[in-house]
Amino acid sequence: MKVQLIKLAHARSGDKGDTANVGIIALKPEYYEILKKEVTPERVKAHFGEMVKGAVQRFEMPNIGALNFLLHNALGGGGTTTLKHDAQGKTISTALLRMEIDVPDDLANF
């Protein structure tokens, strides 16, 4: 079955120049492997489409059940240059959590 990532993870996002970072964190330890399998850099890039002009990099943090994504050229030039309302990418966290992923049907208790 398909569910939105927000059922499985929480997140925080921020900026470094024109690059946004989004860390997504498994809400339960057993969700981490699902996140790792489903939330690939390719799928994240496709989810954001034109919003992310550059590459998407992914880093694994099994110690805290998190994946850290760098979205390059995603902030319209970055912090003080950008014309975007969300100049520092503070809300990109939940934009990523809108993504739908496949989970096993028997995954209980969402």
């Binding site: 929480h10 997140a11 925080r12 921020g14 900026d15 470094k16 120049g17 024109d18 690059t19 970072n21 860390g23 964190i25 809400l27 989810h47 954001f48 489409g49 034109e50 919003m51 880093f59 694994e60 943090m61 099994p62 110690n63 805290i64 059940g65 998190a66 850290n68 760098l70 319209g76 030039g77 970055g78 912090g79 003080t80 240059t81 014309l83 975007k84 309302h85 969300d86 809300t91 966290s93 939940t94 934009a95 990523l96 809108r98 993504m99």
Partner: protein
């Protein structure tokens, strides 16, 4: 050696809650208060202030805070470490000395950490072979040389430790890394060596948790913001540090906020790049080694942190003038709010063409509809209202001002049921852009000046 020390976070950025550090000192025991005031753009604002008055160029709010808080710090023997000194830490220290003298704190030791401001030595540094290329784009600094407004090296904990060793109770720095402000007291108190990488890395993790204030203790907390008690008086985080590098993240019991594994995890991933290589001037910390464990109410243990040797470079932050922006806005109400906002966008773009204005970029967003989440957000069938935002960026100030004049006239010449123009003409703003670079460490030396109040 003390069994442990408590390092409290009092400020996450310039403009953070004014009474947070006061609560940190008054609501429970702490040994150190760290306060972060600096961001890239802050340095250029401070340089501008200093160019108008050589006695300025630091966070003036901090002086206002010292009027209130210095008596508590003295009475409770709490040490303060802050980068509120901006581009003029010595002047900031003198302003604090004036307060201390007035209040009669004879013998109080104050220190200023400086030497990070390389604005006046840039040409010499470049001439002697330091390229200061943009770390992200590889461009030569010559492309922006005559537009530079500030240039600062990020120092680590070393000069702060030196100030502590000279007996300073109030330490005011320029561009010391946010994390270094929290690491320094651990090195000073526990006598950590400069090659004990794991311990230094643990201190850096503590610094990363402290540096954004309440973001680690229930502020901006996605997983459980509804559970956070008393956000109107949220307790900022406190790092309880132990000699072996173990940390307990906590907060004062009497204050609001929440510390659990989730709040700490959210802060750990904030503004993170490659988690295996969190580079600081003193150590490279490995965020994939961190282990967390809840050990009590509002108590999270951080342990097993690993670190690796530092690099041969300091990071340099250069700010430079990069043209202008202007963003206008109008609010359209139901029915057809989105269509009206889109029509307004079409009209403004045609006006820009008709008037022959040239911009590097024109950008439109529909706030309340999808300004934050763009194409990832589903459509809203018939929104009650939509805020039309249109921004332009460019180098021609005259064109910017002509654009600014085009927004309000839409009220009577464009689509109906429009409001939200109370602010009148939008402001044309200078863009101060940010240029990250690297500099060999041997090219600059931090300086520490310690004085006693007489």
């Amino acid at each position: 050696m003390r069994e442990f020390i408590r390092i409290a976070s009092g400020q996450g950025y310039w403009g953070d809650r004014f009474d947070a550090p006061i609560d940190q000192v008054r609501e429970g025991p702490i040994d150190y208060l760290m306060m972060d005031y600096l961001a890239e753009v802050t340095m250029s604002i401070m340089q501008k202030q200093k160019s108008r008055d050589p006695n300025l160029g630091y966070a003036k709010d901090f002086i206002r805070l010292m009027e209130v808080l210095l008596p508590d710090l003295v009475e409770k023997n709490v040490k303060l470490i802050t980068n509120a000194g901006g581009v003029n830490p010595v002047a900031c220290m003198i302003a604090v000395r004036e307060i201390a003298e007035r209040k009669g704190y004879k013998g109080l030791r104050l220190a200023a950490v400086y030497g990070d401001d390389i604005l006046n030595y840039l040409d010499a540094l470049i001439a002697s072979g330091n390229e200061l290329r943009n770390m992200e784009t590889g461009e030569s600094i010559q492309t922006i040389r005559n537009r530079i407004r500030s240039a600062n090296v990020y120092f680590g904990a070393r000069p702060v430790v030196e100030a502590l060793e000279q007996g300073a109770q109030i330490i005011i720095t320029g561009r010391v890394t946010d994390t270094g402000l929290t690491l320094a007291p651990m090195i000073h108190e526990f006598g950590w060596k400069w090659d004990e990488w794991d311990k230094l890395a643990a201190g850096i993790i503590g610094g990363h948790i402290n540096e954004c204030g309440a973001q680690a203790s229930g502020g901006n907390f996605l997983a459980g913001w509804k559970e956070v008690p008393k956000m109107e008086r949220i307790g900022f985080p406190i790092v309880e540090a132990y000699p072996d590098g173990t940390l307990i993240i906590t907060k004062h019991e009497s204050l609001g906020g929440l510390v659990d594994e989730r709040t700490v995890k959210e802060q750990l991933v904030y503004e993170l790049g490659d988690p295996k290589e969190y580079i600081t001037p003193d150590v490279v910390a490995d965020f994939t080694s961190i282990r967390l464990k809840r050990v009590g109410e509002n108590r999270v243990k951080v342990f097993d942190v690993k670190g690796a040797p530092f690099t041969e470079f300091y990071k340099v932050s250069v700010s430079y003038f990069d043209g202008f922006t202007c963003i206008g806005q109008l609010t359209y109400a139901w029915p057809d709010a989105l269509e009206k906002a889109k029509k307004a966008d079409e009209i403004i773009r045609k006006r820009i063409e008709y008037l022959g204005l040239t911009f590097e970029e024109i950008h439109t967003e529909f706030l309340g509809y999808n300004a934050c989440h763009g194409t990832t957000a589903p459509p809203i069938p018939d929104p009650n209202e939509v805020v039309f935002l249109i921004g332009v960026r460019g180098n021609n100030k005259k064109d910017m001002e002509k654009f600014a004049n085009e927004i309000v006239p839409l009220v009577l010449t464009g689509p109906p049921t429009v409001t939200g123009f109370g602010g009148g003409r939008p402001r044309v703003r200078e863009v101060i852009a940010y240029w990250p670079a690297l500099l060999k460490k041997e090219e600059v030396a931090p300086k520490v000046l310690t004085i006693s109040v007489i």
